[in-house]
Structures are given as C-alpha cells and as structure tokens.
C-alpha cells in the first residue's frame, strides 16, 4: 500500500511544482499578491507531499516490503535496521528521491523563513525553484520511478552493496546532497535578481545564509566521504581524484568563492555581476556532479547507474537551467549597476584574489576531470588523468592561496597599506618562520617541501588565532566583555581558516612521512614496523549478522600502552562479495592501519601503513564546517537585512 501512496504523492508534488513555477512568477510580474501567496502555499504543500513519498519508500525498506522492486534489489532481511533505512538512498532511484526531498525542503525553507524578504523577490525565487523541482520530479517519475512493483514478490531481497553498508553511507550522500541542492537556492536568488534587474546589499544579505547552509553540509560531506574511503576501501588513501570526488570538490571551490564574494557585495556593493555568475556556476557544477555519476560519461567506482537515457534527461536539465540562466545573464547583467570602487590593497582586493585563485583551482579540477572526454572526442584515444596531474597543477595554485588566506581578514575594507598589514601579521609570520627553520633543521634541505608545508600550516593556525588575538588585545582592559561580545561571524571565520591550517598539517604529515610494509605472517609471528612491534596473535572465523569474516588479531607494542588491533575480510553471501575492514588505531600523532589479504601456505598476507598526522585532515575539514555553522548562528544573519522603516505619513486632518 505504501508504494501506491508514495507514487500518488509524487505525482501530486509534480503538479504542485508546476503551480509553483507559474503562479509566483506571473504574480510578481503583475504585482498580484494573491498569485504570489498561492506560490508560497504550493511550495509548502509540495514539500509536504515529497516528504510523504520519501517516508513511504523508507517505510517499505524498513519493513522489508519486497513487492517493491527497488527494495527487493537493495535490501535483505538479514541487513541490520540502520542499513535497511540507509538503503533507501543507496540506489539510483532512491538517491534521486532524496535529491528531490532536499530540494523540496530548501524550497519550503524559503517559503517559510525570510520574513523580511521583498515579496516580489521571494515570489521569483520560489518560481525559479519550482521550475527546477518540476524538472527533477519529472526525471524521477518518468525515468527512475522508485515505486515500481514486483509481481510475484520474492521471499527475500538482494543485498545492498556491502561496501555501502557502513555508518559513512548513512550520512555521506544526504550531506553531499544538502550541499549540492542547497546551492540551488543561491542559483534561484541569482536568476530572480536578473529577472528583477536589481541586485543590492540586501540581496547579498538574504542569499549569504543560504550559501552557508549549503556550504556547511557539503564540507562535512566531502570530509566524511574521504574518511569513509580511507577506512572502508582498505587501501589507506584519503583522496583519489576520482571523478566523483572531483564532482563534489568543484562546487565546493566555487561555493567557497561565492561565500566570500557575497560578503563584498553585502558590505561594499561591489562584485555584483561576478557574484551572480558564481551563484549560477556553483549550482551548475552541482548538477554536473549529479550528471557525472549518472550518465556513464566517465566511468568510476561511484557510477552506480550507467544509463545513457537518464544521462540525456539530466543533460537536458543542465542545458535548460544553466543555458537559460547564462543567456539571461548575458542579457541582463551588463545593466546591473557597477559596484563601489576599491584599491588593490584592501579587503575587497584580497577577496578578489581569493576568488580568482579558487576559480582557477576549480578550472584545473574541471580540466582534469573532463579532459579524457575531450581527448576521446578529438582523436578517439582514452587517457586517464591521475594524481600526478593534480600534484603538478593543483598544488602550485593551492599553496599560494593557503599562504594568502591569512592576509584577508587582516585587511581593511576599501583601502589599506601593505606595510601596516605586514606589521599586523608579524607574530604569525615569526611563528611560521620558527616552524620552517625547525623543520629544516630536523629534515635537512631534502625535506624542504615538507618544511614548507609545516610552515604554511603554522602560518594559517597562528594567523587565524591572530584575528581573535588582535581584537582581544585591543580591548584587553575589558577582556571578559571583549570575548563575550565577539561576533560569532568572527569566531566562525577564525575556526574556518584554522581548519584549513589543520588540513594542511595533516596533508603535509601523511604525504611526507607515510610508510608501508607488506609481508606474509603466520599466527605467532612478530614484525617490527614504524617504531612498533606487531604480533599476529590469532586468526579466527567470525559470524556477523549478514556476513562471515576472517578476522586477524594483532597485538601492538611500543609507543604507549600495548593494544589489540583487529583486521578482517568479510564475505557477504547474499551479495556474493567481499569487503576489507582494516584495523585502524587512530591517534593525534598518526594512525596505524593494518589490512589483511589472502591466506596461503606461506601465511596470511598483511599490509600495514603508518599514517602520521592523517587524522588532522578530517578534523580540519570538520573544523571548517564548524566555523561555517558558528557563523550561520550569528544573530546578524538570522535577523536578515535591516529594512529601513517606511516613513509613515501622518494623515493630515482635513480642514
């Protein structure tokens, strides 16, 4: 029964989305308040029906209703409850339903909040949002219906891919989608502004919380995805430049640029058309991310729905939304008022440089991801672009950007003096210099790159601390009050930039000092590795809820108290597949990572890695997201733009 309810709810949602795309745009054009109000109601109701549809599918999964074809394909009675629930979005159709769900919730958010939003602007935002919702609901219903029945129903289902049965999967796709889809709101604001022909500081104020609300989960999602790949795929890497990873990185880079340029627009009324363009491109790249995974145009681990017909539909959606919005941009943007002027050395100048570097970074990732497609087009050859390309092209642009990050918050708006800025940064510079010299003294000239990385990390951390330090030092007479009254936006900024420092620390550490070893071991064998000794104590068979495992227990001594590390290979009989569950000892100074392979008469193949400082990569990512969160909680953002009260004209008594 639930499948039919869900199906019906989706169809109603599609009809409501059609109303939502027509009524408010027409209402705003004619100045008809009733039509605009209809748009709002349609948006909220559409969100309610999509939530209902999603609930129906989740219910079918949780109750193992195998008469629903999708459930039979991706669930099994022995699968633990949380994974039966997470399987709701483990398939192509389910993940598209999740996409639409998040789109509907964001749309509902715009309809519900933003009390001070200009009514015509809100109506246009909702209208544009309705067009996107219509396109994706149509995609879902016509090409990827999640509610198809299976007759006769099988007694038990096939299993969800065991690689995906992990706490990481429960959170990773929803977070990424919250990010991707969240940028749709910035996109809608941009298109609505182009339709209205009006962009001002108030517009930037309204749009910035929405950009942040998308950026935070995207940051968390990318970080979590990297951590998941690290512990689940069993070969100890944390970033692979896989096309799908790149697809999430590109909107992140542009979204970060957008976050900063919207700040300039809000504070100084400058970078108007650039900010609009960024908003359009960020969401377009999110769509390209969806498209990449689904079209089969690039093969990768993640490509779980290779189907050219769906690709054509998605490409149509991208073509229509991005194409029309860019055409609108070419037509309307030149007429937007040019912003205030500023000098090169100023906060605005710093942010322009930040934007240029982020956009170039995004372009290099784009080129790396899509050049195989272009080269194949040109001469039929297929090539793969791997980590060496990114090491050569991405890193040389990313490193100056990291070094420049510290300058931004130290610059004054409008105009500044380079010498004065350098003076403000003398303490962080000294700390970074000491770090550089210490690392060079320990590692020699051969370790120059490592020393440079450590110095940049120290520079970022000290430079971020200096933001708060300078502020509090200036008000040291009232330190308590100074700390209490620090705006959360500033705390958020400090955290986000410091997170970048932690990330740099982790990347430098693991790149410079990683070591590994492969050998065959029998129970009782001992091996020395990276300052520790590992003893293979036992090799057992273990029965899990829906898998059998071959588990190796290691006793690790040295570097603190001895401990036991378990590493196993799991076999999932229903899915007929195997996963590696590495044994990982996590520590602030480094991880010990042990994965086991095949057994043979010469012993069990064991591969061990020492990953110094790697944990800081993810802690850095989460710190950045936390910074965004703290900033989002700032009162000034929540309250929205201050609207000048209209001057009330006292009715003059008739004489």
């Amino acid at each position: 029964m639930s499948a039919e309810v869900g199906q019906f709810a989706l169809i109603l949602a599609l009809l409501l989305a059609l109303v939502q795309s027509v009524a408010p745009l027409l209402g705003a054009h004619r100045g008809d308040a009733a039509l605009m109000a209809l748009g709002r109601r349609a948006t909220l109701l559409q969100a309610a029906f999509v939530i209902l549809a999603f609930g129906c599918l989740a219910y079918a999964y949780v109750t193992c209703d195998f008469s629903v074809a999708l459930v039979a394909q991706h669930s099994h009675t022995t699968q633990p409850l949380p994974y039966r629930f997470a399987a709701t979005w483990g398939s192509h159709e389910g993940s598209m339903l999740l996409w639409v769900l998040i789109l509907a919730i964001y749309g509902g958010g715009v309809a519900f909040f933003n009390g001070t939003l200009r009514e015509t602007l809100r109506a246009r935002v909702l209208g544009v949002q309705g067009v996107i919702a219509t396109a994706f609901l149509g995609f879902l219903i016509f090409t990827s219906n999640p509610f198809l029945r299976l007759d006769p129903a099988p007694p038990d289902g096939m299993e969800l891919n065991p690689l995906l049965q992990d706490p990481g999967l429960v959170f990773h796709p929803p977070l990424l989608y919250l990010g991707y889809v969240g940028f749709s709101i910035a996109f809608c604001f941009a298109v609505a502004a182009l339709i209205e022909g009006r962009v001002d500081a108030a517009w930037a104020r309204w749009v910035r919380p929405w950009v942040l609300a998308a950026w935070i989960p995207l940051t968390c999602g990318i970080t979590l995805g990297s951590a998941w790949a690290y512990y689940e795929l069993g070969w100890g890497g944390w970033w692979f430049w896989d096309p799908v990873e790149n697809a999430s990185l590109m909107p992140w880079l542009l979204g970060t640029a957008l976050l900063h340029s919207a700040l300039v627009l809000e504070r100084r009324g400058a970078l108007v058309s650039w900010t609009i363009l960024l908003a359009i491109l960020t969401f377009s790249l999110s769509l390209v991310g969806t498209f990449l995974v689904r079209s089969g145009i690039l093969t990768s681990v993640h490509a779980f729905a290779v189907d050219p017909r769906r690709g054509v539909y998605i490409l149509g959606i991208i073509g229509a939304t991005t194409g029309l919005s860019l055409a609108l941009y070419a037509w309307r943007a030149p007429a937007l008022h040019a912003g205030a002027l500023f000098q090169g050395i100023s906060r605005e100048g710093g942010i322009v440089l930040n934007n240029v570097l982020l956009a170039v970074l995004c372009a290099t990732v784009f080129a790396g991801t899509f050049s195989p497609v272009f080269i194949e087009m040109a001469n039929g050859d297929k090539i793969s672009v791997g980590p060496p390309y990114y090491a050569r092209v991405f890193a040389p642009i990313a490193i100056p950007l990291l070094a420049l990050v510290v300058f931004g918050p130290m610059l004054n708006w409008k105009r500044d003096n380079l010498r004065a800025v350098l003076m403000r940064l003398r303490i962080p510079a000294a700390i970074a210099g000491v770090a550089l010299l210490a690392a060079l003294a320990l590692g020699g000239v051969k370790g120059a790159v490592t020393a440079g990385g450590l110095a940049v990390a120290a520079w970022l951390l000290a430079g971020s601390a200096a933001i708060l330090g300078r502020r509090w030092w200036a008000q040291r007479a009232y330190l308590g009050r100074a700390i209490r009254t620090t705006p959360r936006a500033i705390v958020g900024l400090t955290l986000a930039h410091a997170g970048l420092g932690l990330l740099t620390l982790g990347i430098t550490g693991v790149t410079a000092w990683e070591s590994d070893k492969v050998l065959s071991m029998h129970p009782g064998d001992t091996v020395a590795f990276a300052g520790r000794t590992l003893t293979l104590e036992a090799l057992d068979n273990v029965q899990g809820p829906n898998y059998q495992a071959r588990q190796a227990r290691f006793r690790v001594e040295g570097q603190g108290a001895p401990y036991i590390l378990e590493s196993e290979r799991r076999f999932y009989p229903t899915a007929q597949s195997q996963t590696t569950e590495a044994g990982i000892r996590v520590g602030p100074l480094g991880n010990l990572y042990v994965s086991v392979g095949e057994e043979s008469p010469s012993g069990l193949v064991v591969r061990m890695w020492n990953h110094p400082l790697i944990i800081w990569i993810w802690l850095g990512g989460f710190t950045m997201a936390l910074g965004g969160f703290v900033s989002l909680s700032d009162r000034r953002l929540r309250l929205g733009a201050a609207v000048k009260p209209a001057i009330k004209v006292q009715p003059v008594a008739a004489e």
Binding site: L163, L233, W235, F240, D242, S273, L277, I280, L281, S284, F291, S295, G296, I297, T299, S300, V301, A303, V306, P308, G311, V312, L315, I318, G319, T322, G323, L326, A327, Y329, A330, A333, P334, V373, F374, E376, M377, D381, K382, S384, G386, V518, S520, A575, Q576, S577, Q578, G597, E598, S600, V605, R607
Partner: protein, 178 residues
C-alpha cells in the same frame, strides 16, 4: 566590448554541452571494439608471478576464456576483483594482463593480497598489447572463443548483473559452439 565579456559564459557553456551530448552517444560501454570478430593479436608477455607462466596468444586456443586487463593502480579493478574471484571459483577460465605498471612488484602483490583469479597472467609494462587489443582504460575484459577470436569487449568492472545478463550467457553459447 563589455557585452562580449558577459556573453563568454554562455558561449563556453554551449560548446561544453555539445561535447557532453556527443560524449553520451559515444558511451564507451556501448561501443563495440575494433577487435570483435578478429583473432587476438600476437603477443608473448613475461610472467607476473615470479614462479608462474607468462601469457601468450597461443594460450588462448582450445576453450573460450575471459582476458581481463587490470592494474595495481586502478581503483575500479579493486571493486571488480571479488567478482573475478567468484567466477574463478565457479570454474570460468580467466587470463589476466597486468597493464602499464611502473615497476615489477605491485602487480604480483595485488594477486597475493587479494587472491589470484588468473590461469595465465602476463606483464604488459609498455601497454603495447593493451593498445593492440584496443584497451582504453582498465579494467576491461575480452571474451575470446576457442579459436582465439575476440567475441565481446566489456569496458569497466564486471558486476554480477553484467555477468548474468551478457557475459555469462555468451560464455555458455561459446562453450556449446563446435
């Protein structure tokens, strides 16, 4: 002049979308190989396993078999590997070509770590054999009949579905051929 600047994004985008559309219809997984219906090109590769046999064209005569191109640096191959182990356990003859490694060792370590599904496995360091066969990226698998003629090319990891729908039935048919 300023107008042209604002037109640049849409022009760039139109070019891109055109290429993507063309790319969709040239989906590599749908493209038949140049090799289909032709005998496997001549090759004689050194062994990957220090104590094992190499892999040469002559090894492909007699029974239908899969020729799987893999590499230790390939991500999708890791996903595909358990499937190959399953097929091997079911008695499907599979030969391997370790494609474009930088050095000796990783290709063999791969087999040691994850299990060895191959009867013959050859080291194609230069990538020459792969190019002769029209390999575009690993993993890629060819179905070769008992006369040594390429009958099917599969691009990307073999999933249980691919096996049940396409490759498995084809292998059955080839085994029945006289």
């Amino acid at each position: 002049m300023k107008r042209i600047l604002f037109l640049a994004p849409i022009v760039g985008f139109v070019v891109l979308i055109g290429v993507f559309f063309a790319g969709l219809h040239r989906d590599p997984t749908l493209l038949p190989s140049m090799m289909i219906g032709k005998p496997v090109p001549q090759f004689d590769l050194p062994p990957v396993r220090p104590d094992g046999p190499g892999f040469a064209t002559a090894d492909l005569k007699g029974e239908p078999a899969l020729v799987n191109f893999y590499a230790s640096w390939c991500v999708a191959c890791r996903v595909e590997h358990p499937m190959l182990m399953r097929l091997r356990a079911e008695g499907v003859p599979i030969h391997g070509v370790d494609w474009k490694e930088n050095e000796t060792g990783p290709g063999y370590q791969w087999l040691e770590m994850r299990g060895d599904p191959y009867i013959h496995v050859g080291d194609d360091r230069s990538g020459r054999t792969g190019i002769d066969m029209g390999v575009s990226a690993v993993p890629e698998t060819f179905v070769v009949d008992k006369r040594g003629v390429v009958r099917y090319r599969h691009v990307g990891a073999i999933t249980p579905e691919d096996w049940d729908r396409k490759i498995g039935p084809l292998m059955k048919k080839l085994q029945a051929e006289s």
